[in-house]
Symmetry: C2
């Protein structure tokens, strides 16, 4: 297995990236919070198909967690992550400290207004401000030509896509389909929080999504009907729903009928564990 | 007089800048809203001492004007500005349209929190959000290694300096002293709004600043006394004061005594014309 280069400062990251470009290698970036699963690895592999030099960033970003959220206990495995990233084809890991990213006196934040407004934005008010800010900073450190994100965090993907366009960053952004366990559960670093019983209940999320997709494929156009069926399924499984929406797949605007590409998006809690998932509704 | 290159799109600006760098020329940037006076020209000349390729940006940025402000009547003279910029040593003018900078669906904004909070931030609530956003976008178009701003907009200079540091833009930022008319009035594109009578009243602003500096040089340390004298001067001249503050010159935090570099900052209205000015208080 090749050695992976670990970079801990912004300055070193910027000069490493500059050297790669000078050597004629395009730089790609895969931002992560670590504790890698197959979903992350699929992003690293895809990045390697677009860029000769692949940087995975690993930073658990305090700015996107609210005080009551799981920042302190967010799962971590730096050694394991380096091995997995390297095996998947990453050449460097950008692994800055919190003090490196947010030194004393730090006070600059990026907001992407419309697309951040509801769903995750409603239930986690400063979340996307933290995400947009850290991704801009990671991009300014890595200076990639290409970056790839998982569609599991679909609203986040749309926030970043919009920011990159609005700020003229000149970075090509790709979204990759969610990687799932054999039974359909979306892979997530947070699945480690689930008890065996909760793990079974959590399956109702992906099942609701696949049922909605099937209903849409069979001709159901009414968003209200699709939502009603999915809510019933989740409630019967004992989940507590934060939101369950069908939205325009591009703008995330509310829609009443499925007449263009749409997406069902769910956030629900199984006991104390909050999970999100989403699926394209094909028609 | 050399021809000046006029560039109207972000894409063309980015590739022009890339070509300059490839040719071994460092790129410097002077952001302006046009209607150039000697203050702007001093910035262009200074930029030419630090960078081989000098880009002046000329964009009257709607995002930094409130609805009741002077966006529509802000003075403009594109032809004259190009001639003056060229004569001062600029090689290119980046002159984008509003639709080029803020296309349909635009929704991303940058805020620099602490340093934007009061003074101009209090009287012009979304102003610095608009400034930080447009300067980041201009930098992402021009991609300079060096940029220069006038200290006449001192709080703005501090907002930009902080943003560049926080977002790891890797751009060296310089602030240049305010250029004044022979009688002391700070040069400003908005001085054109002043009637001859208002022009005389407006002089009380710079006079208050110079008196405060002299008092500080002679040993006055109490901020309250310095402010009291300046307020008296402005009120006697018939000005209406938005704010008159003495602040830490670096952080812009409130101070009670002058024990480190400090700055007096004034915003006041002469009839309908709002003017700002500031001066370092040497001690």
């Amino acid at each position: 297995m090749p050695e992976i280069k670990v970079i801990e400062t912004v300055k070193e990251m910027q000069s490493w990236s500059r050297a790669e470009k000078t050597a004629g290698r395009g730089v790609g970036c895969v931002p992560t919070m670590g504790y890698l699963h197959e979903g992350h690895l699929s992003l690293i592999r895809e990045c390697g198909r677009h860029a000769q030099s692949v940087v995975m960033t690993l930073f658990v970003n305090p700015a996107q967690f609210a005080p009551h959220e799981d920042l302190a206990r967010y799962p971590r495995d730096f050694e394991g992550d380096c091995k997995k990233a390297s095996a998947a084809g990453a050449h460097a890991v950008f692994y800055p400290s919190v003090a490196e990213m947010y030194p004393q006196g730090y006070q600059t934040y990026v907001t992407v207004e419309e697309v951040s407004k509801d769903m995750e934005g409603e239930f986690r008010p400063a979340h996307f401000r933290g995400v947009a800010t850290v991704v801009l900073k990671l991009f300014n450190a890595v200076r990639p030509e290409f970056a790839v994100f998982g569609e599991k965090d679909y609203q986040q993907f749309k926030v970043i896509e919009r920011m990159v366009k609005d700020l003229d960053l000149g970075i090509e952004i790709a979204g990759l389909p969610t990687i799932r366990e054999p039974d359909g559960l979306a892979m997530s670093s947070r699945n480690v929080y689930l008890s065996p019983e909760q793990r079974k209940q959590a399956l109702s999320i992906s099942r609701s999504l696949f049922e909605a997709r099937e209903a849409a494929q069979k001709g159901e156009r009414e968003v209200a009907s699709l939502i009603k069926a999915a809510v019933k399924h989740l409630v019967e499984a004992g989940l507590s729903i934060d939101y369950l929406e069908v939205r325009d797949a591009e703008t995330l605007e509310k829609i009443e009928r499925i007449e263009r590409p749409a997406r069902m998006l769910i956030a629900a809690r199984v006991g104390p564990v909050r999970l999100i998932d989403n699926l394209e509704l094909v028609f």
